[in-house]
Amino acid sequence: MVLVDIRETKSVKASDIFLQIRPGKDFEVITILRALVKEQPVDESQVQETGLTLEQLQDFVDRMKKAKFGVFFFGMGLSMTRGKHMNSAALLTLAAELNAFTKFVAMPMRGHGNVTGADVIMRWQTGYPFAIQFGRGYPRYNPGEFSTVDLLVRGDVDAALILGADPGATMPQPAIDHLARIPTICLDPKVTHTSRLSRVHITTAATGISAPGTGYRMDEVPLPLRPALKSPYPTDEQVVRRIHEAVLKKPDWLQQGNRMALNQV
C-alpha cells in the first residue's frame, strides 16, 4: 500500500511506502505520474515542487504498472483542496490510462454516515448524484448553480428542509446565516447546530438503530439495516410522507406537467 498525504497520519503504520507531498501539489503529482506512465520526459524542477523525488515517483509508477489490480482510494484531501475537481479528474484519467497496463480503478473515500447511499439513490432516481434542481418539474443538474452551498450563499432559497445532515456545523458561515434567516425545517434524532437554527425541529428515529433503512457501503453495496431498538419517534420516511400528503392537499398552483412529476415521488 502506498500512502500519499501532506502529513503522517495513522494510516502510515498500515502502509508500505509513504509519500509526503507538499500541500496543494496534488494536481502536479498526478500529472507527473501520468507523464511517467507514458514514458514522457519530466522536468526536474517541477518534480522538486511536489516535495518528492523523481526516483520515488518512478518507483510508484513501476509498482502500479506491475500490480494485478490497483485501486486509488481518494478523499477530501484531493477533491476539496486547491485544484478540487481538476484533481479528481486528473486521478480518474490516471486510473483510466493505467488500464493500458493492468486493471486499475479509483474509488472515493466517503465521509461519516450514508453519503454513498444519498448519491446512489439520487442517481438512479434522477440520473444525477447531487445539485439537482426540480423547479421545472424534471431534474436538472449543475454544481455551482443548483448545489446547496451555492443556493444558500446566494440567498436564492426561501425555505429549507434538512434531512440526514447538519449543515449548521459544516457549511460556510454565509450559508449557515441564510438557513437561520429563512424558515428551515430539520429532521434529526438529535439536537444539532442545524436543529438549533431551525424554525421547526422534528425529532425522528435513528435509522439503523430504531428505524429500518439501507446503508450503502463505500463500494455501493447496499446493506439492509434492521432496527435493534424501538423508538417513540416517527422515521424520516414517515415524516416526509406526511408532509408530502399535506402539501398535496394544498390548492394547486403548479402547471399540470409539474403536478404529474410531484405525484411520482
Binding site: 502529513r7 500541500p23 478540487k84 461519516h112 455551482g144 452551498v149 449548521g168 460556510p172 438529535k190 444539532t192
Partner: protein
C-alpha cells in the same frame, strides 16, 4: 506577540465520526472541533505552549482555538472540521458545489486567557 501565517487543514477524524453518533450537543464534541494541532517548533516561534489559546483568522472570519502539540509538518495546522471552521470558510465553490476546505491561508495570533474564555 505578532501573528504568524500558516496553512490550516480542517479534516475528519475517526474520533469525531464516533462522537457525531453520540451527539454534538456536549463538551466532548466542542473540545474536538476547537483543538488545533501544531508542530512543536512552530509553537516556540509563535511563543505559545501546548494548551494555549490562539485566534485564527482568514479573509472570511475568525475563531478561537486551543493548541495541541503534534507531529505535523512545519507551517501546517490541522483541526477536525466543525462550527469554528465554518466561520473561517469562504462561500465561493468555484462552480464545483463545494467550497475550498483545505489549505486555507490563515493568520494565527496568541490570545490571553481572558479573551480565550470570552
Amino acid at each position: 506577540m505578532a501573528a504568524k501565517q500558516f496553512l490550516l487543514n480542517p479534516s475528519r477524524t475517526a474520533k469525531q465520526g464516533a462522537q457525531i453518533n453520540i451527539g454534538k450537543d456536549c463538551p466532548e464534541y466542542e473540545a474536538m472541533v476547537t483543538t488545533v494541532t501544531m508542530n512543536a517548533d512552530d509553537m516556540k516561534s509563535l511563543g505559545v505552549a501546548d494548551g494555549d489559546s490562539v485566534r485564527i483568522r482568514t479573509e472570511f472570519g475568525e475563531a478561537i482555538f486551543r493548541l495541541e502539540v503534534g507531529r505535523v509538518p512545519e507551517g501546517l495546522l490541522f483541526v477536525p472540521y466543525g462550527p469554528p471552521t465554518c466561520k473561517l470558510m469562504g462561500g465561493d465553490t468555484e462552480g464545483t458545489g463545494m467550497p475550498l476546505s483545505k489549505g486555507w491561508e490563515v493568520e494565527v495570533e496568541p490570545v490571553s486567557g481572558d479573551a480565550a474564555a470570552g
